[in-house]
């Protein structure tokens, strides 16, 4: 989780990613962030997030995103 938080903080140092659950709803993340996050996750966790997983629900909080990573890691 710490590695993921680090990736997110690099994009928006002013957001408390441990508690924020409205990253999409409040338009905090933009399309550039999404592309960057997916690339960084691929580098760090060695999992590939494909289009079907790029949904508002999965990107609305760090927690949801981390659950997605764990799910994808388990599938591999």
């Amino acid at each position: 989780m710490d590695e993921l938080l680090e990736i997110l903080r690099d994009l928006h140092e002013d957001i408390d990613f441990e508690t924020c659950e409205t990253l999409i709803d409040d338009k905090i993340l933009d399309s550039f962030d999404i592309v960057t996050i997916i690339a960084e996750i691929a580098n760090t966790f060695d999992v590939k997030i494909s289009a079907e997983h790029i949904t508002p629900q999965n990107f609305n909080s760090a927690k949801a995103l981390y659950q997605l990573i764990q799910k994808l890691e388990a599938e591999e």
Binding site: I24, S31, A51
Partner: protein, 508 residues
Amino acid sequence: MQTHILDYLTDAVRYAPDKTAYSDGTDSLTFREVYEQSRSIGTFLCGNQVGREPVVVFMEKHPKTIAAFYGVISAGAYYVPIDVEMPVERIRLILENVQAGVMICDAGTIETARTFAFQGRIVSYEECCHTDIDEAKLEEIYEASIDTDPIYIVFTSGSTGVPKGVTACHRSVIDYIEHLAEALPFAEDTVFGNQAPLYMDACLRELLLTLKFRATAYLIPRELFLFPVKLVEYLNQYRINTICWVVSALVMISSFDTFQVAVPEYLRLIAFVSEVFPIVQFHKWKEAVPNATYVNLYGPTEATGVCCYYIVDREFQAGDVIPIGRPFRNTQILLLDEQNREAAPGESGEICIRGSSLTLGYYNDLQKTSDSFTQNPLHAHYPERIYRTGDIGRRNDRGELEFVSRKDYQIKHMGHRIELGEIEANVNLVEGVKMAGCVYDKTRSKIVLFYTGTAQPREVTAALRTKVPRYMLPNKIIQMDRIPLTANGKINRLELEKKVQEEKKDNG
């Protein structure tokens, strides 16, 4: 001969009043509604002594925003679009440049507008879109207008840190739209899926071609560009068949294997603009949507949108360059070498544009205008303006134009035109920064910032966020003990680029 841009609207209303002109999926306006609301706004403005002057439009991406643009033009004024996406500092510079007397807002922006240092009057769209139309007054303004009068000012990145206001007139826009319409297959059943923000000139093609062909344009909500599957579903839901998008938006879809889940069913014209389309991604599109016509568009804001096009008519292999093709009719491209002579066949030269599609220049900046819009150096017989793009191009063996590189430090990143100098100028304003140098890592599409000083990288980002648009924020920030300089004391970008390459190697 058409000399007024709003003739497109008058004609559309005559033949298809009740057809949907613009929609965002939730709200729609018919041609008649666009016409009537714009005439009300025009009446309101001239009732408030607005003449041939800038009017700021600060509204969200919505069909009404377009009616506001036309309303401003019907009053004989020219619109200056600003947007909630723009950082406050950029908005401040724009407002300071144009010194408008009126700003039109909507319910979502009016509170923000009141926080600006704006001397003029702030009005809401709803307040002026019901004004009783003064036909006689609007007709009088229409009759008095000239096709070299401005219709909009859009702002683009400037290397000194101050954005430049490109000012277009009726003639340049009509020339652009007429010849674009002639070159590509548009029709009454065209359904556009607009991606470009309304504060950029790129949206003109959808806005005006919709009027000209009595077509329909969907303004795709920008948050959909975060979610590729939803985006494709939106295209299918509204049977969108024509898109002109920046390459990064197309790549967003193809690079995440979206096509395994959802495929655009109705697309028949796919135009891409603003960047080089990576061939691998281009192939994914062609495989998923094989029957569409693919078109590469090229052109600077200074020449009103795009001026060159290439309809893909052959296969491209990895490593090939998709050409930018040839100019629209009534526009000529000159390739000029360093001695201002025409480049020999196969040789590269600066892409220079001549024709009626040239805009008027930069608002309130005659100096910068004359630096970029110069006398055609091939003759001195009569005054003739050309626009020097700063892009280097060449003609390939088939005689098609190809984009080669930039002459200066302007880059294309995520579909946006950015001057690295503008980022540096703004970083230099951050407290605790001594000196900044920016380079672009093309292979990874990253803006890399180097700086010296006591400020922490995070502090630099936080400060920058208030000054430049999101897409201009560096993707990587490196603090240094000293910035390498050239012999004449300028920032040594080659040296910085080398450092970027070394870092890549270190990280494997």
